[in-house]
Structures are given as structure tokens and as C-alpha cells.
Amino acid sequence: MDSVAVIGASLAGLRAIETLRRDGFEGRIHLVGAERHRPYDRPPLSKQILAGDWETERIWLTSDEALSDLGCEPLFGVSAVALDPETLQVDLSTGDALDVDGVVIATGARTRTLGDPLGGVFTLRTVDDAQSIAAAFDQGPDRVVVIGAGFIGAEVASTARERGIAVTMIEAAQTPFERSLGTEMGAVIVDMHRDQGVDVRVGVTCEELIGEQNVTGVRLSDGSVIDATVVVVGIGVTPNIEWLVTSGLDITNGVLCDATMLAAPRIVAAGDVARWPNRLFDEVMRVEHWDNATGQAVHAAKRLLHGSSVGEYAPVPWFWTDQYDRKIQLAGRTTGFDEVIVVEGAVEDRRFAALYRKADRLVGVLGFNRPRHVMRYRGLIESRTSWSDAMAAQF
């Protein structure tokens, strides 16, 4: 292998390049990124950047010098528009093409939107989005409406409240976070927001964004209207796979890989765009978390370089979200769990760890300000610990 193209210049793409070099790859590396920025970190966007606590300078994941030390040839503001899996030719939006011996697909995901945007209606994925929302917050709006109580929406609500802005958060489901945490634990987060003065409305959807050019309010499915000049839509993301439609790869809800992160011979994928069978949970999954993008990129790069001897990628997915003064973390796979039990601390204090059981196995752990416990139990999930052994464990 003499040359590699890494498509997508964010967390997964960068970590893949760093790994290729650390493991001794000396060939050419092309880095193609649709955004005009060098790789930066997204988690601070909804937290420190929106809060106005950090200068943008602090989110860069790398410097120009570090990139040139890695010997990679970056093309920022350029998109890949097609991939031929036979010849490994990558067509670019500039009309040029790259001919390489290996490809890392790391094109991530983008936010879903509610159709034509009015002024004052935002989604949050990029640093440009974050700066626009921060500027809107700086105007001191009377109220911000957050549509969709996912983790990003909840972080936006939290940051807005900390800046003293009134917030209404609306969610279609009866219990926000039900899918990821279950009803009981989802309610803990909702209560936290209500205690901080967020007007949380559940079981309603946005019928209409009212306004001519700029938004003035939101009409909900229950007929009520909320006046607001700033609306942040947080209704999830969709993987960036359109550039691969002609490739013949399976791109249903992400780029399908085998258990080692190989999508096709000499093509690997990693990060928010990748779907793969995680043998630890016997489930084909796509994970939209920071830690996965990092770990999966390391694995995918090694797979490309060393072949199948690197083995399967079967991690315990893990993420954190910071809301108000709480650091919330979830490790494992809680879909369809049977029971959740608090094993440490107290829910009332919002400082606790709770375990999730599915059949007779420990499958998940949720922590509120309990990072050490989450990591210990994560280890138990990884070693397929039985429920009774997990309940008996002392940390």
C-alpha cells in the first residue's frame, strides 16, 4: 500500500491518520474534508462555545504544523463525490480525482432539519452553526425553543439557561430519553431541566415555524403557540453516505462493514458514518459518540494496514453529556433492557450509578457525576459479566 485517502476531516479521519503513521505507514496520505476548517472537536460546541466560555481556538484537534508533521496532504473545503471500489478512484468536487491503494471513509453525519429554514432557526453540528447560535444568544432573546429533547438539544437548553435565557423544550415522545435510558432514568433528566426552569413539553410536535423571514414563534400539535425568536432544532442526525450511492457498497443507514471495520477490500469506515456487527452485543449498530469515533478509527486504520489479524472491533459504547453541573455518562447497550437498579448514590442527589439488566446479563451503566463507577462497570460489561456477579461487585 503506497497511498491512502481519508475522506472526512474530523475526529475519526484525524485519528485514523495518526494511527497509520504511528503504526509505520510511510506512504502518501490525502485528507479530504468538506468543511473549510481543519479537524476540530464537536462536544464543546454545545457546551463551552455556546456558553461563550471558550475562544474558538480551543476546539482545534490539531495544528497546521502537526498536520504537516504527519505528512498528510489536506484538501479542506473539498468533498468526495464518488468512489469506485474496484479501482479505488475517489472523485472530488473540484473535478480532480485521487487514485489510491486504500480508503478510510469517515464522513460522519449531519443534522436533520425541518425543511426550509427561517432566520433564527438553527441546527447544531458545525463550528459555524455554534457561532451563529452563540451570536443569537448574545442578542439576549426572550425565549429559545429547543425542538427535540435529545442529548444535544438538552445541552443547548442547559447552556441557554446558564446564560439566563428562558427555554421551552418540546419532545414528541412522552418521556424524553426513553429510547436510550428508559422511562425512569429519562424522567431524572427531565426533572433536572424543570428544576432549572426549563418549560419541558412532552408528547407534542412542532406543527409550524411561524414567521415571514425570521421566526417569531412555534405552533405545536396541541394548538398552542410559543413566541420565540430563536429556535434550535435537535431531531437527530443522518449519516453522510450520498457520495457513495454509485459505489455499490451497502449504505443503508451508514456504511456497512464487517466485524473488523472493512467495508470492501482496501476500504474501511469509522465514526458516525459506520455500521458494523458488534459481537459483544450480537447487534449491527451505528454509534454517534466521540469515544467510538476515536476507537473505531484506530481499529479501522490498523485493519487497513495490517489486515484481518487485528481482529474484531467489539467495544462497549460509551458517551458523556454535560448538563448544568452534572456529568452524565452511559456505557453499554440499553435497548430493550429488562430492569434498571441504582447501585450507588441516590437519584434525589443526582449523584448515582444505575445498572441495566437484559436477561441475566449486565448490559449498561448510567452515571450522574460518577465517572469512576461507570468505567468500572463498563469493564464488567466488556467481560460479559452476569447480572448477579455485577450486583455483587463493590467499587
Binding site: R22, K327, P371
Partner: protein, 66 residues
């Protein structure tokens, strides 16, 4: 050439990711604080510390060449 491990404790949230990668260098104790066990580790630890720098979700670890 030796190197130094520098942790920004304002950023660190004690999630112990670094400890899983380089337990000889990082330890999160029962008090939930991170302790750097060796702030000028052996050269043999460099790769692991580099990996910890990359895996730390809070970008709280840096390497300084001593």
C-alpha cells in the same frame, strides 16, 4: 529525550479512560481525582501516553518534551 505529562485538571472529568490505557502513568482513585503517577515517564511509556492523549475525551492531557 524524555517527556513530561501535563494534565489540565480544570478539563479532566476523572473518567479514567487514560488509566485504562496507561495504568502505570494515570490513576483515578477512590476520591474521584486523577493522579499522575509518573509525570516524567520512561520512554517506553510514550506510545501509551500518546494514545491516552488521543483518547482523552476532554483533551485534558498534553505531552511536553523535557
Amino acid at each position: 529525550m524524555s517527556f513530561k505529562v501535563v494534565v489540565d485538571y480544570d478539563l479532566c472529568e476523572s473518567n479514567a479512560i487514560c488509566m485504562q490505557i496507561a495504568p502505570e502513568v494515570f490513576e483515578v482513585r477512590d476520591d474521584d481525582f486523577l493522579y499522575v503517577l509518573a509525570d516524567e515517564p520512561e520512554e517506553t511509556q510514550r506510545e501509551k501516553v500518546e494514545e491516552a492523549v488521543q483518547r482523552c475525551p476532554k483533551q485534558a492531557i498534553a505531552i511536553a518534551e523535557a
